[in-house]
């Protein structure tokens, strides 16, 4: 699938999503679900870029999201930085952490990278709750409350009025998607794929593993951290509950449904998973069971996800098609 076709698909998807408030604008619940779909689509896309295209088993995506959320909240609450700027600063903080995490990962492969990055996820909650965390303004076990909303050109995007916030989130999600598509189609994307397919040969052909691995960690953690900061200003409060296993698994389901390395599958996976997750709310404790069964069936029936199925049905080849389904 070439870049133009990818951009066309994303334009159609986001164009249709942009029309949804016409039909559902009166329902705050549905608008909230749509905003969450857009936020998670960015996180899932970043995870797809690092795992599906660069072949790096980074399990730190939720951690980068939470780091960004806390960083932006702390910048705005404690230092008085306007939220629209603090979200970018949060992206920079997450990117810096991402690069620090990447450095030991450069010497590791496969499951060992997953272990290191998941260790970051695991130690983040105790850190945020600790005295050290409290000292930098994380609010300890209580978390952060009264995080100010984003203001732009004198307008404040309150979560009580979801439609304006929805469109703001849509703009952010579109920009992030464009960045990801451009990266995939650029020589960066080629470098990521070569390092995934055969790192030894890629290096022998002049690809710098150090440079491109650091780049993918920095870029994906920046975007994830930035959208995390955005999320914090939307919900207005943060706690370490996000670092539980539920969110991590839900994010993984998004990728599996969309198809790993099948961008823009991650975006579709995010919309599908968030919606199904909300629809299953009435079944309570059976929800994880149903979601789990669904993932099992999908993995067996559609190993390359929904987008992989669409590609094979319509014989759409290209970079994404061959990038997926070959995790090492």
């Amino acid at each position: 699938m070439d870049g133009k076709r990818r951009i066309l698909i994303m334009a159609v998807v986001f164009g249709l999503v942009a029309l949804l408030p016409i039909f559902f604008g009166g329902s705050k619940v549905i608008m909230h679900i749509l905003i969450m779909c857009l936020i998670w689509s960015v996180v899932a896309s970043c995870w797809d870029l690092i795992m599906g295209f660069a072949g790096i088993f980074s399990f730190g995506q939720v951690a980068f999201f939470v780091i960004g959320a806390y960083a932006s909240a702390i910048f705005s609450l404690r230092l008085g930085v306007p939220p629209i700027i603090s979200t970018f600063l949060a992206g920079a903080v997450a990117a810096a952490v991402g690069v620090l995490v990447a450095l030991p990962c450069l010497r590791l492969k496969g499951a060992y990278v997953a272990l290191v990055t998941f260790a970051v996820h695991m130690i983040l909650a105790p850190f945020l709750k600790s005295n050290m965390g409290r000292a930098i303004g994380t609010g300890g076990a209580q978390g952060l409350l009264t995080i100010p909303p984003i203001s732009l050109f004198g307008y404040t995007f309150q979560n009580a009025e979801p439609i304006p916030f929805f469109y703001l989130t849509l703009v952010v999600a579109v920009i992030c998607s464009l960045i990801i598509i451009l990266v995939i189609m650029s020589h960066w994307g080629t470098a990521f794929l070569t390092l995934k397919d055969s790192e030894d040969f890629a290096r022998a052909l002049g690809v710098s593993a150090l440079r491109y691995k650091l780049m993918v960690f920095a870029l994906t953690s920046f975007l994830t951290g930035m959208i995390g900061g955005f999320y914090g200003h939307y919900v207005g409060m943060l706690s370490t509950r996000m670092l539980g296993i539920d969110l991590f698994v839900t994010l993984m389901i998004m990728l599996v449904i969309g198809g790993v390395g099948q961008y823009p599958g991650a975006v579709l996976g995010a919309f599908f998973t968030v919606t199904i997750n909300e629809m299953l709310a009435p079944v309570g404790s059976y929800r994880p069971l149903i979601l789990g069964a669904m993932v099992l069936i999908l993995v067996l029936a559609l190993p390359d996800g929904v987008v992989g199925l669409i590609r094979s049905l319509f014989n759409l080849g290209g970079r994404g098609a061959r990038a997926g389904g070959r995790m090492k």
């Binding site: 290096r203 390395g261 061959r322």
Partner: protein, 243 residues
């Protein structure tokens, strides 16, 4: 006029714990020649390549065009003009044949990306008609040609081939030998080749180095080297060497 030494390895030693994989090995490769390396399995041939291309740190010195390359990462060594292939064909399964060759030019070519040269190299390895196919669809010979094509796209001064004939039939061996000769003669690229087929080495190379357990047994003219009793002993055992 004396031939210029392109690559000089002096006292190369590589230890993996207690195992000495390469032991005090010294050799030099002259510009424009085809230099062969042979030895039994486990002799340390591929390890030598890994040392020359920066995969492993080592003791000793390696000079390429008079510049020390020890300690440089593989991609920087590639930028200097040293390309290599692998015994087991390495391809980029996510890319097409054309994109795969493109990688060599885009990332490894010191003068920057050269689209025309990439097409030329695709043609050189006879893969132009398959440039839009996924790399995985190529047969073994195609994958070997692709690896060589991508390496050539970096515009190397020296190409190191690691057992290019492995798994090939006689017809394919002849085709690969013709390709290697063409690379050396038409493109003027110096070649180092690791190979088990002595016939290939005696026909292609000007200098042949035989190693066993990381140590040099002998080095010189391939016909003389293959007649050396030490080499016969190392390959076929004491009984053959005595006869």
């Amino acid at each position: 006029m004396a031939e210029r030494v392109l690559l000089r390895a002096s006292n190369l030693t590589k230890r993996f714990g207690a195992l000495v994989a390469v032991n005090n090995l010294s050799f030099q490769v002259k510009e424009g020649e085809i230099f062969g390396i042979a030895g039994p399995n486990g002799a340390g041939k591929s390890t030598v390549y890994n040392l020359l291309t920066g995969v492993y740190p080592f003791e000793g010195r390696v000079e390429f065009e008079g510049r020390e390359i020890a300690g440089l990462p593989p991609h920087k060594i590639a930028h200097m003009g040293i390309a290599r292939t692998f015994q087991v064909p390495q391809i980029f399964a996510s890319l097409t044949v054309g994109e795969c060759v493109d990688v060599g030019s885009r990332f490894g070519c010191p003068g920057g990306y050269d689209r025309a040269y990439t097409s030329e190299m695709l043609d050189f390895v006879s893969l132009t008609d398959q440039k839009d196919r996924p790399t995985e669809q190529l047969n073994l010979l195609g994958k070997k040609r692709l690896m060589i094509g991508a390496s050539l796209a970096t515009k190397p001064k020296i190409l190191m081939l690691d057992e290019p004939m492995a798994g090939s039939n006689f017809k394919e061996i002849q085709q690969l030998m013709d390709l290697i000769k063409k690379i050396n003669q038409d493109l003027g690229i110096t070649i180092i080749i690791i190979e088990h087929f002595m016939k290939v080495l005696t026909e292609l190379t000007k200098t042949l180095l035989i190693i066993e357990t990381g140590t040099e047994i002998c080095c010189g003219d391939p016909v003389e080297v293959t007649a050396n009793p030490k080499v016969i002993q190392c390959y076929l055992g004491d009984a053959y060497a005595e006869n």
